[in-house]
Symmetry: C2
Subunit: 297 residues, 2 copies
């Protein structure tokens, strides 16, 4: 069934001549990928455990065909695994009966080393990926065309990853308009521990601290006075608990390292305050004002 020619060595092609891509997990990311890829001429096969999601994905135009069975993906040359991180390895195992050695698998999990350690022994033709795009909403109904435009998309090939597979996935996601980066799984995990996972933990601890104020009148006043400063600083700490927990579980080592360094920096601020060392505290605040801009280019 899978037609292979020289041009499309690693991608399925339908009788119609269209190349075939598979997507497992039809939520915000999987659904948005489907919308964009269909728009770019791909034949999209989508799998979700939920029959309702399968129907909605069809209705929304995110897939050409959908099913709750992985066997639907036999013909796909490239398969995006867009499930929650905890289900990625199981999904790869479930796909094994239906794929050929040339089938390229890629995922969208937000931690890479842990996933690759589990998946690569099962399937070498696997390219770790991480699109950094999202909205406040989740699920197939939140899927939208153009979600990935200008969003960072990181690929983390390892020494044994076939170059051809990397090229196929790279070209595919590049066509979505992303800013593409290549790095190692380790460097990826370290970078996201700093700018994505650490903020969740320090933001959550702010909410904990404010909520624990023992004097009712002060707590009530704090709740009434909280405005944009508290709102912004507490946003990610008030987000989806499952997502925060997953970051902690899958990126534990890098996150702990970032947290320990953070604790040292915070202790420095506390010490300067205790010693009334205003000059050095001011120097810190001047540096942070200047350095923040480097992360927001």
């Amino acid at each position: 069934m899978m037609q292979v020619d020289v041009e499309n060595v690693n991608t399925g092609e339908k009788a119609t001549g269209k190349q075939i891509v598979g997507i497992v997990g039809l939520g915000l990311i999987g659904g948005s990928l489907g919308l964009d890829l269909r728009h770019r001429g791909w034949h999209v096969l989508g799998v979700s455990r939920s029959p309702l999601t399968c129907d909605l994905a069809l209705e929304r135009g995110a897939v050409d065909q959908s099913s709750d069975q992985l066997s639907l993906l036999r013909e796909a040359g490239v398969i995006f695994i867009c499930t929650p991180m905890a289900a990625i390895t199981t999904t790869v195992r479930g796909l094994l009966p239906y794929i050929t050695p040339k089938t390229i698998l890629t995922d969208v999990g937000s931690v890479k080393e842990h996933i690759l350690r589990e998946v690569l022994p099962l399937w070498a033709n696997f390219v770790g990926g991480h699109p950094m795009a999202g909205t406040t909403e989740n699920g197939i109904m939140a899927a939208q065309e153009g979600l990935f435009i200008n969003a960072p998309y990181i690929l983390t090939p390892v020494e044994n990853t076939p170059i051809a597979a990397v090229e196929v996935v790279a070209n595919l996601v590049r066509s979505l308009g992303v800013r593409l980066y290549f790095t190692t799984p380790q460097e990826h995990d370290r970078a996201v521990s700093l700018i994505s996972h650490l903020p969740v933990m320090i933001s959550a601890s702010l909410i904990s601290t404010c909520s624990q104020e023992p004097h009712k009148s002060i707590l009530s006043l704090a709740q009434n006075l909280a405005s944009s400063g508290f709102r912004d600083t507490s946003r990610v700490g008030g987000g989806n608990p499952e997502l925060g927990l997953m970051m902690a579980q899958y990126n534990r080592k890098a996150l702990l390292d970032s947290l320990h360094k953070y604790q040292q920096n915070l202790q420095q601020v506390v010490t300067f305050l205790e010693m009334e060392n205003w000059q050095d505290l001011q120097a810190i605040l001047e540096k942070t004002q200047a350095n923040r801009a480097n992360f927001l280019t």
Copy 2:
């Protein structure tokens, strides 16, 4: 020169019949106050050290008359001190030759106990105030009408503050459309240390930690990947260093207390991560998700 009648016992009244209010410090807050108060029929006298600011305030319609000399305010019944916190006490001292015992002074400093401890021995007819309004811009050119609508405005009278003075200031700021709260200077400072000053320090420490990443490739990746999560959590830590320093200096005790409690909460998160105690970590994240809403009503 100051005409007093029964109705306006504590406010100056001009020959025209208009009540006279004085403003020292014609920046964002002082200028916006002037715009609103003139709009509500007050005759506004404004003082700034900078002759240019005096001219701009006149041009913008934030004052009826302006001067770089405090003597301009002889006729004002109420005077808002809108200088940076470090200049409040000096301003009160500078006003002493020109005011009568009935003149009501009030300030807009973001810390109250420290200021009142310095000012009350100089002038008992003083009502501590703190409007929680702002924009990202500062200065007279950023002043705008309606800045205080729905913004919290806290007054912190103490045992000896004349009730008449509190009433005059309360009615005046209420007319701006604020949400008015009364509390003690201590409770005010404790509440703002939690929801306003603590966020600055934890946010600054995030920027410090990310900026100190020793591996250039990871630092560069982190800078490229940083998106809304980092942007929001780092915003107040990348703000005006002088403002952050002032919070630390003037609210040192309450801020240190909040920081110590914060460090305990953060250590709890670190310990759960170290022990791989996912159940208790999840419980924290579920609580913070639920509790955040209480601060954003």
